[in-house]
């Protein structure tokens, strides 16, 4: 315990003798009186002596305690532990000041941001003290030290603090601690080491901090800059589109709202995407994430940037009241139906598939879905390249060139639906698997059925009810699924190399009915049935199952969430971008990014960057055309301003090191006990009166 006026304690120690002096001075001078009955006085005194001795001791004790408490109160005791780091006087050693510059430090309270308070606190620790060398680490996603080692250039450190500003990044606590460890290790051995951490000690960042890399003898001082009773925060945590984003089709937009306040809030969000807007409104309970949803109708295909903004929201952290997102709007899908069957409308497997893929013909003059029939013997490469989904049905024996072409397209992101009805299809699937190599791990191996085991009247034994195409069709499958009968197709055998979860449906003979497996950037689905020999085309399940399956196989890369600012990221460009030549990355202001790297990775182009830039939409352009876009935003975890319990820092995380926790934002919090001490002093005096009264009665 420390004192504001410690010299008063010495005065108080001297004042302890005061009651004795007062007692002697105020003791009544006895009046001499001859008395014949002294024997009775002596008798009475003897009887009362023990009692009054107790009274005298109690009175002396209470009176002394009152004086001591009075001196203590005037000395103004400061509660809490003594700071480990002195900001004045001579000190010999190394000091590292770690200033948190994460996004949460920009939270404003009482008209001042936590970072501004932190700068003022940090500046105190980088002032000149004889014998001291110091360094400053401004830490966010990456820690940045002013010097490589401790320095006596305090002016430069002060300038660095003045120039620092909060970043829309999370705090990588461990990287910062490791950096501080490196700097402290450069000090003179056996000298005093001090680490001052100025932060808001946000729980999401500091809960997993590990101080074990620091040297054992380091003195850690935590300076919190968060005042008590900080204003609550409402934040947009994510904004995204769900499902296939397609031109001319309504897109479902979802916005996640985090309510980190203590009350229920009615939130309104304005969403703009290109020239489309929508307004989302909803109630957000405290302490949970709420998803608000709405729809927009994109009128053109391509990459567009969007922004979700909270309306009339006044909270601690303004930076998370809006969030950028990107929509990659695709044109209506084109299906390439590769089959040997005639295009004449008659009951055939390919006819059933064509009608199921495009149940309604497109309106004239408007873009819409359509099916292009392709003869596998004479493939139209342009039609294949334009197709969004490849559908193979009764293709016959595929040539190796055709297999290589199809496999390459799938690996770049195309979807492929193979309806395996004939024994030759087993050979084709094996050829595709061989061509795909390690990118394609089928869970089963399809084989031609044995002659003595005819595949007839098979029914579905089980299916994955939580995955497409059955996920949204649970009721219909329960009603109709049991009546489906299948014939034809291939027998199958389980392979250990594949994932059993890729088998979505199984027949009554334990052969695979539907298999969906990823292959490179694309997906391959195998429907193991001869549709002409099955009653599926005649059932109400045909169209929804095929639609759901096609939806799963179509590309969904445009729904990626925003990348976190300051974090490294990597993203494949769309499969149709085959080379990084003539590609460039521009930031939200249209300025070309020099630190972005575009490299060839197999058949795809990889965009990677060591640190994502400030919030906004970044575009990969080829000339004036945008081939890809990506949004960056502050990490959602930074919006939760809840702080870590200081006790956790001091005990569990500090691992037994000398630590001190101080909340600089709550000054003066510690010298307020003198009033209670005065009350105790008054209590002693009242107690003295009470003792006298008690013994008198």
């Amino acid at each position: 315990m420390t004192f504001l006026h410690p010299w008063l304690l010495a005065l108080g120690a001297a004042a302890i003798a005061l009651p004795l002096v007062i007692h002697r001075l105020t003791r009544p001078r006895p009046r001499r009186l001859p008395l014949s009955t002294v024997r009775f006085v002596r008798e009475a005194v003897k009887e009362k002596r023990a009692k009054y001795r107790l009274r005298d001791w109690l009175v002396l004790l209470l009176r002394t305690a009152a004086v001591v408490l009075l001196a203590w109160a005037f000395a103004r005791p400061l509660t809490g532990a003594k700071p480990l780091v002195k900001t004045d006087g001579q000190t010999s050693g190394v000091r590292v000041v770690l200033l948190d510059a994460s996004f949460s430090m920009s939270a404003v309270s009482s008209g001042q941001s936590a970072f501004d308070r932190g700068k003022a606190v940090a500046a105190k620790f980088v002032q000149y003290q004889p014998g001291l060398r110091a360094d400053l680490i401004v830490a966010a996603a990456r820690p940045t030290a002013v010097f490589d080692g401790p320095s006596a250039n305090f002016a430069a450190l002060s300038d660095a603090i003045a120039a620092a500003s909060p970043l829309p990044q999370r705090l990588d606590v461990q990287a910062a601690i490791n950096r501080a460890t490196e700097i402290l290790a450069k000090g003179v051995p056996h000298q005093r080491m001090e680490l001052v951490i100025v932060s808001d000690f946000q729980r999401s960042s500091w809960a997993t901090a590990d101080f074990s890399p620091l040297p054992k003898g380091v003195n850690i001082q935590f300076d919190s800059v968060v005042p008590a009773g900080q204003v609550g925060n409402i934040a947009i945590l994510d904004a995204r589109a769900t499902g296939r984003i397609e031109q001319g089709r309504e897109i479902r937009l979802e916005v996640d709202i985090g309510n980190y306040s203590s009350s229920l809030r009615n939130v309104t969000v304005n969403v703009t995407a290109g020239d489309s807007t929508c307004r989302l409104t909803g109630l957000c309970p405290p302490g949970v994430k709420t998803t608000l949803a709405g729809t927009i109708l994109p009128r053109s295909a391509g990459w567009i940037g969007g922004r979700a903004t909270l309306v009339d929201n006044h909270d601690a952290l303004a930076g998370d009241d809006s969030r950028s997102f990107v929509l990659g709007i695709l044109p209506p899908p084109t299906y390439a139906l590769i089959t040997r069957e005639s295009s004449r409308p008659h009951p055939s497997s390919s006819h059933y598939l064509e009608r199921a893929l495009v149940p309604m013909p497109p309106q004239p003059g408007k873009p819409g879905e359509h099916v292009a029939r392709i003869d596998p013997g004479q493939p139209d490469r342009a039609a294949l390249a334009a197709a969004s989904l490849l559908v193979l049905d009764h293709p016959g024996k595929l040539s190796p060139e055709m297999i290589d072409l199809l496999t390459a397209m799938v690996r770049r992101g195309r979807g492929l639906l193979y309806v395996a009805a004939e024994p030759i299809d087993a050979s084709n699937l094996k050829g595709i698997a061989d061509a795909a190599g390690t990118d394609f791990k089928m869970p089963v191996e399809f084989r031609p059925p044995l002659a003595n085991q005819p595949r007839e009247n098979l029914f579905l034994l089980e299916w994955k009810k939580d995955q497409p195409p059955f996920g949204r069709l649970t009721e219909l499958m329960n009603a109709v699924g049991g009546s489906l009968r299948f014939s034809g197709g291939l027998s199958s055998a389980r392979l250990d190399t594949g994932l059993s979860d890729d088998v979505l449906a199984t027949y009554s003979d334990r052969s695979a009915a539907l298999v969906v497996t990823s292959c490179g950037a694309g997906t391959i689905a195998v429907l193991n049935a001869d549709l002409t020999e099955s009653n599926l085309p005649a059932s109400p399940l045909m169209v929804p199952v095929v639609q759901e399956l096609a939806g799963r196989l179509l590309s969904t890369h445009a729904t990626a969430s925003a990348s976190a600012c300051g974090e490294p990221f990597a993203a494949y460009l769309p499969p149709d971008t085959t080379t990084p030549d003539r590609l460039s990355v521009v930031d939200p202001a249209g300025i070309r990014q020099s630190d972005a790297t575009l490299t060839q990775d197999g058949t795809l182009v990889l965009w990677h960057q060591d640190a994502a830039g400030p919030p906004g939409v970044y575009q990969v352009k080829r000339g004036d055309d945008t081939v890809y876009a990506l949004a960056t935003a502050a990490p959602a975890s930074e919006s939760d301003l809840q702080t870590l319990d200081p006790q956790t820092l001091k005990t569990r995380l500090a691992a037994g090191r000398s630590v001190y926790f101080e909340n600089s934002a709550d000054q003066p919090p510690r010298a307020d006990q003198w009033t209670w001490i005065l009350v105790a002093c008054a209590g002693c005096l009242i107690g003295e009166v009470g003792v006298l009264k008690l013994f008198r009665t």
């Binding site: 003791r27 009544p28 001078r29 006895p30 009046r31 001499r32 009186l33 001859p34 008395l35 014949s36 009955t37 002294v38 024997r39 009775f40 006085v41 002596r42 008798e43 009475a44 005194v45 009887e47 009362k48 009054y52 008198r696």
Partner: protein, 313 residues
């Protein structure tokens, strides 16, 4: 009393503690005893002896060998049985006043004025009582007790004796009393010197170490058929301690000093003092003595008057 003695007495000044004008109001009262006494001369008090010349008391059947002159012939004639007439013999009173002159009797309250001391009160009271007894031709003696028996005047009725006795009472406070009171020893010494039974009046504050020993000697007198009157003298300021913050009480008989705040011990003191007074009373009554609690705040004439009135009745 001879004419010479009367002349000598009238020539000498009487005691300063003798207020004849005040005592004239008590002239009609006489010191009466409760029991029959044994006197030297004929007087107004009933004697233990029964003779033939005095007041008739009763008849008793004649016993052979008795003086035939005492037979009541008239009764014999009427009853044919011899009866002897009994008469009460009257004699004078032998009263001995045993006065405590110890240092504790000098206590005069907070103001410490000698005229308010217990000894001064005894001087007035004993002088007045000796005058009353002497004026009714009874014999009065004086024993002065302090460390032991300091002075002793056997009972006598001569005016000169009275003058000397009162003179001794007058000079009591001039004596230097020994530090310790030995009232029991004084009683024992007086008992040894007094051969004829009479009345013993003890005037003391009874502030002694061994109260039992005192009353053991009182009981000696009672065994010899003495009438004993215990006058327990109490100063009003002895009953309760004085008010004030702190006092240093100094014992008057070399019993040390003690510092205390009276308020702290007042209750205990009062209880102890009352217990002492009750003990004196109980021991006196148990020994068959007449006990009187005499507060020195009461005028001595009132005390004496009350005593005599009670006795006369």
């Amino acid at each position: 009393m001879s004419d010479t003695a009367i002349a000598e007495t009238t020539a000498r000044p009487h005691s300063k503690y003798l207020n004849l004008a005040a005592l004239s109001a008590l002239a009609h009262l006489r010191f009466a005893t409760r029991y029959r006494i044994e006197g030297s001369y004929s007087g107004r008090h009933r004697s233990r002896q029964r003779g033939g010349s005095a007041e008739f008391v009763d008849f008793r059947e004649y016993a052979p060998g008795e003086d035939l002159r005492r037979i009541d012939w008239k009764v014999l004639g009427r009853t044919d049985r011899p009866y002897v007439r009994l008469y009460q013999d009257e004699t004078n009173l032998l009263c001995t006043m045993l006065v405590d002159a110890s240092r504790s009797m000098l206590y005069a309250g907070q103001r410490q004025r000698p005229e308010e001391s217990k000894l001064r009160y005894v001087q007035y009271l004993a002088t007045a009582m000796s005058h009353v007894i002497g004026s009714q031709r009874d014999q009065v003696g004086l024993a002065v007790a302090a460390g032991g028996l300091l002075d002793f005047f056997p009972p006598a009725a001569a005016p000169m004796h009275l003058w000397r006795l009162q003179r001794m009472l007058e000079t009591l406070d001039d004596r230097k009393a020994p530090p310790q009171t030995d009232l029991a020893g004084a009683l024992r010494a007086a008992f040894d010197r007094l051969s004829r039974r009479g009345v013993l009046v003890v005037m003391s504050d009874f502030l002694v170490d061994d109260l039992e020993a005192v009353f053991a000697n009182v009981r000696l007198f009672r065994h010899r058929r003495w009438e004993v009157v215990i006058m327990h003298l109490i100063h009003p300021e002895e009953e309760r301690l004085p008010l004030g913050a702190a006092y240093r009480f100094e014992g008057m008989e070399d019993d040390g000093t003690i510092n205390c705040t009276p308020a702290d011990v007042a209750r205990g003191y009062e209880q102890a003092f009352e217990a002492h007074a009750a003990m004196v009373r109980a021991l006196a009554l148990a020994a068959g003595c007449d006990h009187r609690r005499v507060l020195t705040s009461t005028p001595y004439l009132q005390t004496l008057g009350g005593f005599l009135v009670e006795r006369s009745a």
